[in-house]
Symmetry: C2
Subunit: 351 residues, 2 copies
DNA sequence: CCCTCTGTGTTAATCGTTTAACATCGTGCA
DNA sequence: TGCACGATGTTAAACGATTAACACAGAGGG
C-alpha cells in the first residue's frame, strides 16, 4: 500500500525495459501495438497512472505551465475586472496547448515589506514549476521580477523594459488624451487618483511618485503635459484599487474646501467608486464634477464612465503566445488605446 | 552562456560538497554562517538563483501548489462570480503557506467530447505538478476526477462522495426551501433552469437529467419534493451558466404560451439574466413572474433576487485547509445554506 | 547472397536536488 | 585524562523519469 508504483515497477512486472514503458505512454508509434497494450494492461493492473509529473518536468525541462505573479493578494485580484480580463486572455491561449496557469502569490506591499515576508514570497516564486511567467505592472526592480529573471525564465511584462519581452500600451499618450479632454472642457483643478500602498485619500508627494506603479507615473505625466500651464494637479492615493478604498479617496477629495472640478482615476473601479460617492453627496457627475476612469471594463459602460479603452483580453492572449511560441512572436508590442467619452465628464461648472 | 548553473557547479566553484550548498539555501542553521555566506557569494557570482524547482519537487515530493480543475473553459470561469468567490477563498488560505494555485483547464463538455480532446485534457491533469487538487461540482466518474484519484493525490470535492474528502452544502434541502417558498406563494407552474451542455432554452428530458451536475440534480429533486402534488415542473437548459445563455433560456421560457409563473435558476447569474429578459418584455418580476437564484453572490443583492445563500468563500478556505493540513481537518463538512427572500418572488398572479 | 533499411526493443547516462548516515574536531565536564 | 556531545561538513544513495545510441531481426532490392 505504502509503496509507490513507478515506471520501473511496471517495467519489471511486465518484463520489459523502462524505456518501453515510457514509450508506451509517450510515443505509441515507437512500440508494436501488441507490446504497448500489454504494458498498459500491466500498468492499469498495478494502478500506475502514468509518469510522475515532477520527474517528467525535471527530465524534459518543460513544465507545461506558466506563472502569473500577484502582488495585490489573490483574493483581491479575483475582484479586479482588469486582472480577470487579463487572465481570461491568457487562459484562452493556454487552453489550446494543454498548459496550466500557476497563480503565484507575492506578499502585497502595504507600507513596506519586512524582509521575512519578501523572503517567503520569493520562496514561492522559486518553487513554482513553470516554463515562463507574466508580471503585469511590476517595476524592473521588484523582487519577484528579479527572481524570475534570475531563474532565467522567459518573462513577459506590461511595462517598457530595457531587455526582455513586453506587451504594453502607451500610458503616457493615454494620459495626454485624458488631460486634453479635460482641458478642452475647461478644467484646471484636477485630482488624479492612483493606486498606491499608502493610505487611501492621502496626498501623494512628488517623492512618493517615484514609488508608484510605472503605469501610474506615465499616465500622470501625460495628464500633466496635456493640461494648460496654469492647471493644478493634485495626486491622491486610491489605495489598492478596490471599491472600498476608492470611496475613501473620493470622500477625502470631495470634502476638501477647494474640491477639484475633475477627478481622473487610475482604473474604472476607482472611478466608479468616485462616481458613487459624488452621487451620494448630491453632486451631478458630468456637471458639478467630472470623472474619468481607465481600462473600459464592462462596469465603465454601465456607469457611463468616460475612460480609456485598452484591449486587455488581447493583451493576455498576446502575452501567452509570446511565452508559448517565442520564435514566432515579436519581442515588444504596443497595443492601441482609445479615449471613450461618456457622460461622466462635462464642461467645468461656472461657480 | 548556454551552460546551466547547478548546485553542483556552485559546489565545485566554492570547493565544497553539494550538500553544503543545499544547506546554504535550505537550512541556514546547518552551516557556520561564515561558510554559508561564502557559498551564497559564490552562487551570486555565478548567477545561480537557487535550487531548481522541478528537481526539488521530485526529490522532496512536494510541489507547494494545489490544482483546481476547470471544466467550463477558464475564460468563462473568470466571469463566474461563484468561481471567483471560491478561488478567493482558496487563495486566502494558500497565501499564508506560500502555496501557488494551479488552474488546470479541462476541455469543456459541449455535446460530448471527442476521445482526443479528453486525452489532451487528461494530459494536462497528469502533467500538473501539484500536491492536491480541488474538483468542484464534478461527478465521481468525470475523467479528471478519475485521473486525479489515480494519481492518488489528495482531492477535495464539493459533492457527496463515497470516499475522499468533500465540503458540500445540502443541495436537496436548499432545493426544498426554494420549492416550499414558491409553494407558499401559490406557484404550481414552475420552470427550473439548470446549467447543462445542451442548447440553452431547450427542455431537459428525464433521461438527460442523469447527466446533469450533481448539484443541479439534487436541487431539482428538492424543489420537486416541496411543491404540491399537482404542480408541474419543467426543466430547461440554461447553457453554461453565463449571462448570454441565461437570456436565451429565459426568452424561450417566457415566450411559451403556458409560461411558468415561477422560474428557479441554478445560479444567480442565470436568474439575473431571466430577470433582465422578463423586465425587457414588460413583465414585473415578483408580480407577473417570480424568479429565484442560487448562491447569493453580490449581483443577487443588487438585483433584488430571492436566492439561497451559500458560504462560498468559506468553502474555498476550508477546501484549501483540508488539502494543506489533512490531519487537523475533518473529512467531510456540510456548510449551512439560507434562503434569502428579496423582491424577485411574490404570490402567483391570478389570471 | 549481400547489403541496406525499417521496425522494435534495450542499455545506460542524465536531469538537479535532498538528506540520512557518517566523519571530524574542539569543548565542557567528571 | 577520558568521554560524551554539539557543531559543522561530507559521502553517496535516492527521487522517477526521458531519450540518444545501439542491437537485432526480417524484408526487400540488386
Amino acid at each position: 500500500m505504502g509503496v509507490r508504483i513507478t515506471l520501473r515497477s511496471v517495467a519489471e512486472a511486465a518484463g520489459v525495459s523502462t524505456a518501453a514503458v515510457s514509450y508506451a505512454f509517450n510515443r505509441p508509434d515507437r512500440l508494436s501495438s501488441e507490446m504497448r497494450s500489454r504494458i498498459l494492461a500491466v500498468a492499469r493492473e498495478l494502478g500506475y497512472s502514468g509518469p510522475d509529473a515532477a520527474a517528467r518536468s525535471l527530465r524534459t525541462g518543460r513544465a507545461n505551465a506558466i506563472g502569473v505573479i500577484f502582488t495585490t493578494g489573490l483574493t483581491y485580484a479575483f475582484s479586479d475586472p482588469y486582472v480577470l480580463a487579463l487572465l481570461g486572455g491568457l487562459a484562452e491561449t493556454l487552453a489550446h496547448s494543454r498548459t496550466s496557469l500557476v497563480l503565484i502569490p507575492f506578499a502585497p506591499v502595504v507600507a513596506g515589506l519586512s524582509d521575512a515576508e519578501v523572503r517567503e514570497s520569493l520562496d514561492a516564486v522559486h518553487r513554482a514549476v513553470i516554463d515562463g511567467a507574466v508580471a503585469d505592472g511590476l517595476t524592473d526592480d521588484h523582487p519577484a521580477v528579479r527572481a524570475l529573471s534570475d531563474r532565467s525564465l522567459p518573462l513577459v511584462r506590461s511595462s517598457d523594459t530595457a531587455a526582455g519581452r513586453c506587451v504594453m500600451i502607451d500610458d503616457r499618450q493615454a494620459g495626454r488624451e485624458i488631460g486634453r479632454h479635460l482641458a478642452d472642457l475647461g478644467h484646471h483643478e484636477v485630482a488624479v487618483v492612483v493606486s498606491s500602498p499608502s493610505e487611501p485619500g492621502c496626498a501623494v508627494t512628488p517623492a512618493d511618485e517615484a514609488t508608484l506603479y510605472p503605469y501610474s507615473r506615465h499616465r500622470l505625466a501625460g495628464i500633466r503635459e496635456a493640461l494648460p500651464a496654469g492647471a493644478r494637479v493634485r495626486v491622491v492615493s486610491g489605495g489598492n484599487n478596490a471599491d472600498a478604498t476608492g470611496r475613501l479617496a473620493a470622500t477625502a477629495l470631495l470634502a476638501a474646501p477647494d474640491r477639484p472640478t475633475a477627478i481622473a482615476a487610475d482604473s474604472d473601479v476607482l472611478a466608479a467608486a468616485v462616481v458613487e460617492v459624488a452621487t451620494v453627496q448630491g453632486l451631478r457627475v458630468g456637471h458639478d464634477v467630472s470623472v474619468t476612469g481607465f481600462d473600459d471594463v464592462p462596469l465603465a459602460a454601465s456607469t457611463g464612465l468616460t475612460t480609456v479603452r485598452q484591449p486587455i483580453h488581447e493583451k493576455g492572449r498576446l502575452m501567452a503566445r509570446m511565452l508559448l511560441d517565442p520564435d514566432n512572436t515579436p519581442n515588444r508590442v504596443t497595443l492601441p488605446t482609445e479615449l471613450v467619452v461618456r457622460s461622466s465628464t462635462g464642461p467645468v461648472p461656472n461657480r
